[in-house]
Symmetry: C2
Subunit: 202 residues, 2 copies
């Protein structure tokens, strides 16, 4: 069955990004610990980290992301901006970008198409479902987009990569979601990061 899933790195004190997100710091500043393990998965002992990063996307048919994940710009579009990822983004699938500003779809190399959705999170989900056929839909981020889907009861699964660092400031993943209940369904321990797969309870 097709599910709506998200996976994010989170610090022990609950931050999914540091403060001061900008062009050079897509995850904010002081938050290197959240992402550096993702680039070290070829080091000895990191096999489980590598495996989970492959697994979380193995069945993904479409992605949804917030505008801030697509780029640092705000307001009307700079049409030269086509994402952080260069000519061939790592998605290789349709990507729906949540925005308040219309823009024509952008076709990239390798199967990624960015489609800009101004109708809200439910509209984006509907379009992603259609594009994904029977595969899963990933809410790719950022934290705000995941929080919106979680708060609206539209997320089926949440995978947290729990990084053993304390950031102290930034964007908290779960702010404003009191009462959300999750059920642990899988835990993968690596020496670096603990990967926690939760089913969202209705």
């Amino acid at each position: 069955m097709s599910i709506v899933t998200a996976n994010l790195a989170i610090s022990l004190d609950g931050f999914a990004a540091g403060p001061g997100q900008d062009m050079d710091h897509p995850f904010g500043t002081g938050a290197e610990a959240l992402t550096e393990w993702m680039f070290q998965t070829d080091q000895p002992g990191r096999e489980k980290d590598k495996q989970i990063l492959a697994d979380v996307h193995a069945n993904t048919g479409a992605h949804i992301m917030g505008r801030n994940m697509f780029g640092p710009g705000r307001g009307a579009w700079d049409l030269d901006w086509t994402g952080w990822w260069g000519p061939e983004p790592p998605y290789h699938a349709p990507v729906f970008v949540l925005t308040h500003h219309d823009r024509e779809p952008v076709v990239m190399q390798g199967g990624t198409t960015f489609t800009f959705v101004t109708g809200g999170i439910e509209s984006a989900l509907e379009q992603a479902r259609e594009a994904a056929t029977n595969k899963d839909i990933e809410i790719a981020g950022g934290a705000a987009a995941v929080r919106q889907y979680l708060g609206a009861g539209l997320l089926d699964e949440l995978v947290l990569h729990l990084v053993p660092a304390v950031l102290g400031s930034g964007e908290r993943l779960l702010d404003g979601l009191n009462g959300i209940a999750l059920e642990p369904v899988e835990t993968i321990a690596s020496p670096t990061v603990t990967h926690l797969r939760y089913r969202v309870r209705r």
Copy 2:
């Protein structure tokens, strides 16, 4: 080797207690999820929860706790108050209570003695080390006491019982500890709560 350790239940958004701690709500209100699993360990499927709660105290020779964990009173002592736990507290070992107000030691049934320490966290640790001989010292709580020892570099190990609930308010365990780095050394997954054992990096 004797270590200084602590174990606490923590919500997914980082809270170790809810708001509004008082006589009837030692963990605050709205925070039942943090503790209810501890009283359900005889239910089917909860074997791992039961085991970890036994294991974390298996080698404890002395405990240290903050005054707020010992009781709801503030200021000068009400000498009739001898803790939340009745005539035979579950510690069965020396317990050192951090306070600003002198009080004579209180000897309880079953091997628990409450000794009141006004000289600060290092003095309490010194006394606990002596009392524990070669066994471990547990910072029993609350969150503020654990935070102080962690911040002062005096904690060797931290066990977090990660409860899959979002509380939204209360006392955050790791506030003010930015930069503290932990190393995952053991992860025990149960269907209820994920138990994470960390070594504190120096």
